[in-house]
């Protein structure tokens, strides 16, 4: 039975992914901080799909624990989905480096720390898949959230390089760039409904892209058009916009 490791399993997108992969017969390793919070979800998924689900303690910014965390997974997973992320507070981050630091640490450094260990193992075994949830925010820095955006940009660049490195070992790397998704992260924001995806449609799109071995996925697809347009605005004009 194939086994997938989901990092940041309390996230709403991660919960939808757990259901989606379980539905397709995957056993699950769910990793997060305070993993006992997942108890009811574990029961639910095991009852629905009759797969094995286990929870593990994992903190993205406790870098020194990452090696032992991964080594203790037995048997080791066939694939990993890196979902954790931290939107943070842009304004706070501008004034307090600790907030900026946290945004970078969770979204970028933490992801690299754990995925490098997993990548090395997958490369050695010549099998596995790696899915990283980045964001459209990383496609161009904007004044409203460039700290988060720059961390996600770094993560996207990392995934692209990783894909390049692991291609010859037959390991599939998928970069997911959601636009807006209705989750805890965005609960306090007013999102335009027609540009906002639900966690379960996002999870379905991710699974489909994984099966099709896509490299980069925008959810929903319209975000590819929006970001392509935004990327092509010349900088002299872009810097004057209030985005």
């Amino acid at each position: 039975m194939a086994r997938v490791l989901i990092l940041g399993a309390t996230s709403d997108i991660a919960k939808a992914l757990a259901n989606e992969y379980a539905q397709h017969g995957y056993d699950l390793y769910l990793a997060t901080r305070q993993s006992d919070r997942l108890d009811p979800d574990i029961k639910d998924i095991s009852i629905r799909y009759q797969v094995n689900v286990k929870a593990f303690e994992f903190d993205a910014t406790a870098f020194e624990t990452h090696a032992s965390f991964y080594n203790e997974l037995d048997p080791q997973p066939d694939g990993v989905i890196c979902v954790f992320g931290y939107l943070g507070d842009q304004k706070k981050g501008e004034k307090m480096f600790s907030e900026a630091h946290k945004i970078i640490d969770v979204n970028h450094t933490g992801a690299i720390s754990i995925l490098e260990k997993i990548a090395a193992d997958f490369e050695h075994q010549k099998r596995g898949f790696i899915i990283g949830i980045s964001s459209v925010a990383g496609d161009r820095g904007r004044q409203s959230n460039y700290l988060y955006g720059s961390a996600k940009a770094g993560f996207s660049a990392y995934l692209s390089g990783l894909r390049n490195r692991l291609f010859k070992s037959g390991i599939h790397v998928l970069t997911v760039k959601p636009g807006f998704v209705a989750t805890k992260m965005t609960a306090s924001l007013k999102l335009p409904p027609f540009l906002t995806a639900q966690p379960d449609t996002t999870a379905k799109a991710i699974y489909k892209a994984h099966i099709k071995k896509k490299d980069v996925l925008y959810v929903t697809g319209i975000w590819w058009w929006i970001m392509t347009f935004i990327r092509y605005i010349p900088e002299p004009i872009f810097k004057r916009l209030g985005l």
């Binding site: 009811p40 979800d41 029961k43 639910d44 009852i47 629905r48």
Partner: protein, 440 residues
């Protein structure tokens, strides 16, 4: 957010609170505002409406399943549709199901719902082993027949007024296939259909569709559908007896203009239905969706009634007065030229101990009326007949009953109020319906 239930009447502007969010829940319960739980909004009226709604949308997890006994524990927002999806293939079926699968376990308990098997299986709550309830003081309490019994009997059928149901444990029924052995029989008038109901007592499921516009000698002409879960040996031609053949749902995307809805459309629909089901006493194998949830095939069929919505009127009369009372009501509908698309007749078994439970031994009839200016006065006139014959109206289908009728027909009301006072001291759980009916 503008919110309304299945019959599109009434509407209210409500703040929706995610009942799975502990913080938000504690917050609302610690304030002075009242609130009401809401599941999938399949009740026909204002029972789950008010300005603050606790939505159980995300309280939707299965928590334990015992494959030997079929005992399931789940959160209150789990829908019957989900139970069917995951448990029919394993050979289990809800012990009682209403005519739609898009309702939640919490809603099923709060309305003490009944199905086509009431005469044999009782209500859904009669299969409940225990309930976990969030009380208005923020505490979580268990109730069952052996623990906090009064609270249990008030919560079953209590329309969300004792607290928020968080979880429930109940037993599913074992089945050998996803199919029903169905018999369809025509009855030429009300006496014949009532005889048929008596004769159908051994069948696990029975219900009749009654043509409300048939008059005179044909008054009460109807079609009975009865059956039971098909055994393995009934399903020989099928590859997998638990698999349904996929059928495409029909969608009604817009509200139909009100003018479309007149006596003639109803008349032709009724006549069509009556003659379509021509098969007499012929056995058929139909899947459970077709047998239990024919209306779910037509997504948003409620929009057929136009933007103004409709009223469903469901009453029950004690058995001895059922025949006379139903004749009187059908005649009244005929006289006043009011049509009903759907009229469903069923013979209930015995009443249970739940304080505000609807079913009593006798006949229940459910009628749909498009919302028009004169409908309320008309229904008040039907109420008089229901009262005269010792019956009552189903709270989950009610959007307009007067408090006087309610207190005269739900004779356990004062007991309910005492229990509610004890467990909901602050009177936090209130709906537009409970205010209208004076359940305070």
């Amino acid at each position: 957010m503008k919110t309304t239930n299945w019959n599109n009447y009434p509407h209210t502007d409500a703040t929706i609170i995610d009942a799975s969010n502990d913080e938000a829940l504690s917050n609302i319960l610690s304030r002075t505002t009242s609130c009401i739980p809401r599941g999938l909004g399949r009740c026909y009226g204002d029972a789950s409406l008010q300005s603050h709604i606790l939505s159980t949308d995300r309280l939707n997890r299965f928590l334990s399943f015992e494959p030997i006994t079929g005992t399931l524990t789940c959160e209150a927002g789990v829908s019957f549709a989900e139970i069917l999806t995951f448990f029919v293939p394993r050979g289990w079926f809800p012990p009682v199901t209403p005519g739609t699968k898009f309702i939640t376990v919490g809603g099923a308990i709060a309305s003490d719902i009944h199905g086509k098997n009431h005469h044999r299986a009782g209500t859904f709550c009669e299969h409940i082993e225990s309930i976990t309830l969030k009380l208005s003081n923020g505490q979580i309490s268990q109730c069952s027949l052996s623990e906090n019994k009064e609270l249990f009997h008030a919560t079953c059928g209590g329309m969300g007024l004792t607290g928020l149901i968080l979880q429930a444990t109940f037993k599913l029924t074992p089945i050998e296939s996803a199919y029903i052995k169905e018999e369809v029989i025509k009855a030429k008038d009300i006496d014949e259909i009532m005889d048929l109901f008596e004769a159908s007592a051994p069948f696990p499921y029975s219900v009749a569709w009654i043509d409300c516009l048939a008059k005179g000698k044909q008054l009460g002409r109807s079609i009975m559908m009865r059956g039971g879960h098909a055994r393995l040996e009934n399903c020989k031609g099928l590859k997998n007896p638990f698999l349904l053949r996929p059928t495409k749902p029909i969608n009604i995307p817009f509200f139909l203009p009100d003018a479309l809805f007149n006596k003639w459309t109803i008349k032709s629909f009724n006549a069509l239905y009556y003659h379509k089901k021509r098969t007499i006493s012929k056995l058929m194998l139909v899947d459970y969706d077709t047998f239990f949830y024919p209306l779910d095939r037509i997504y948003h069929w409620n929009r057929m009634y136009g933007k103004r919505g409709f009223i469903q009127y469901q009453f029950v009369l004690p058995k001895p007065s059922s025949c006379e009372g139903i004749k009187k009501i059908l005649n009244k509908i005929g006289q006043e030229g009011k049509g009903s698309f759907l009229a469903v007749l069923k013979l209930f078994g015995k009443a249970n101990q739940n304080v505000l439970s609807f079913p009593m031994e006798g006949y229940t009839l459910a009628l749909d009326f498009p919302l028009t200016d004169d409908i309320f006065d008309f229904l008040d006139r039907l109420d008089t007949i229901v009262l005269d014959y010792g019956g009552r109206i189903y709270l989950t289908k009610d959007a307009r009953m007067k408090d006087t009728l309610f207190s005269k027909t739900y004779t356990n009301l004062s007991r309910f109020l005492t229990i509610k006072k004890e467990w909901d001291k602050a009177g936090k759980f209130q709906s537009m319906q409970s205010k209208r009916l004076g359940i305070l």
